[in-house]
Symmetry: C2
Subunit: 246 residues, 2 copies
Amino acid sequence: MSNLTLDDSHHSAHRPVADWLRAVPMFDVLSEAAVGVLAAISRLDDVDAGTTLFREDEPAEHLHILMEGRVTLSSQASGGRRAVVEVVEPVRHLVLATVLASAPYVVDAQAITDSVLISVPTEALHQLVRENAELASSLMRAQAIDFASMVREVCDLKMRTAAERLGSYLLELLRDDPVVETGFRLPIDKRLLAARLGCRKENLSRAFAILRDFGVETHGRRVILHDVEALRRFAFPNQLAAPGTA
Amino acid sequence: MSNLTLDDSHHSAHRPVADWLRAVPMFDVLSEAAVGVLAAISRLDDVDAGTTLFREDEPAEHLHILMEGRVTLSSQASGGRRAVVEVVEPVRHLVLATVLASAPYVVDAQAITDSVLISVPTEALHQLVRENAELASSLMRAQAIDFASMVREVCDLKMRTAAERLGSYLLELLRDDPVVETGFRLPIDKRLLAARLGCRKENLSRAFAILRDFGVETHGRRVILHDVEALRRFAFPNQLAAPGTA
């Protein structure tokens, strides 16, 4: 955690932590007083792109909640390869199950853009959970959603081709930003995208080639979807991992 | 749940539920009195092979703990295909995160052999958790282990070939039954094994063919490992999902 920076020149310093906490859905159940208690023990971190937030096997000393930016969760394999478990977008907590159990982290977390995170010490969070049954229930629900999303990811990886998974990923980007209907820039580079989808870079190129028949045009990280409906029919033949089913 | 059977002719009826509960690691923290309370609300079910324990989207009304037998967790896709998320072996709880959050089940569960399960009503379990902080912590830890195992499965699916995953699966069977050092029968049929590994049946045959170079001989469900060390070097090149790292 030594490479975290807290820099007044970043904009996040101008909003109190309590304001940020109110934007976290799993804290919706908290009273104003409880938000105040949580704010008193929480810290807001502005981190630079490339910052490692925590490493696999370290004790989970903080619950991190990504408020702005983008974070990868990954696991090291030999030969320098990394499995990217997830690319986390805000507003989202990181590995809640691990934190609530005070277990060692099961993944590395790294900010891949400049990011803003709330950081809650694990021990203090446990104390709050013991005192606040509504918070405990809310965290349980959040954990169940995390678990369901991992189950869906496993099904997805087992049942669907790289091209189908790439198609769903592109459609999800569209959903997140409905204003841009046909053209957008990939938020992550193609090397990371391949790792996220669980394929080699050459398979990603092949997947993009397959998607050309369904109206997907690419120029580097720039993507144009000419026929969203055709892509949807190709990518969600069976509704597994369809947007909105989360 | 209408197809559950409770039949005195099965052997499980001869042991009180409390005895079974004492064999569940996550209940180790409970006092004798607390085990008694849990036993009073729990039921022991003998179910036949083929019994559906619960279905996706149904409310999670019970925590099931598999004591004997074998259960698949799966998710339906169109065209009749099923993604097998996990083949559960005893002693093991099913989808704890879902139950603790009172969320709908995210998978179907089906006994694939005659099985014995403890079944604890969700509402009564919640009540116990509220009263027993040690039980709450123990369930949190169990949940974190479940989450870690799903993370490992995702890494595994993203980083490793079907042949490598098949190799690890065979080595895990060896570990579970160290007496049988070179020959054993697959506990699940090849169709289910392919679904479990997340590949098509023809890819499973190809994976077995690759493993022949590492001393793996098969005759139907009968497997002989002629060179366990060679298989280990092939299947765990990077320690991902290696036995004992769970």
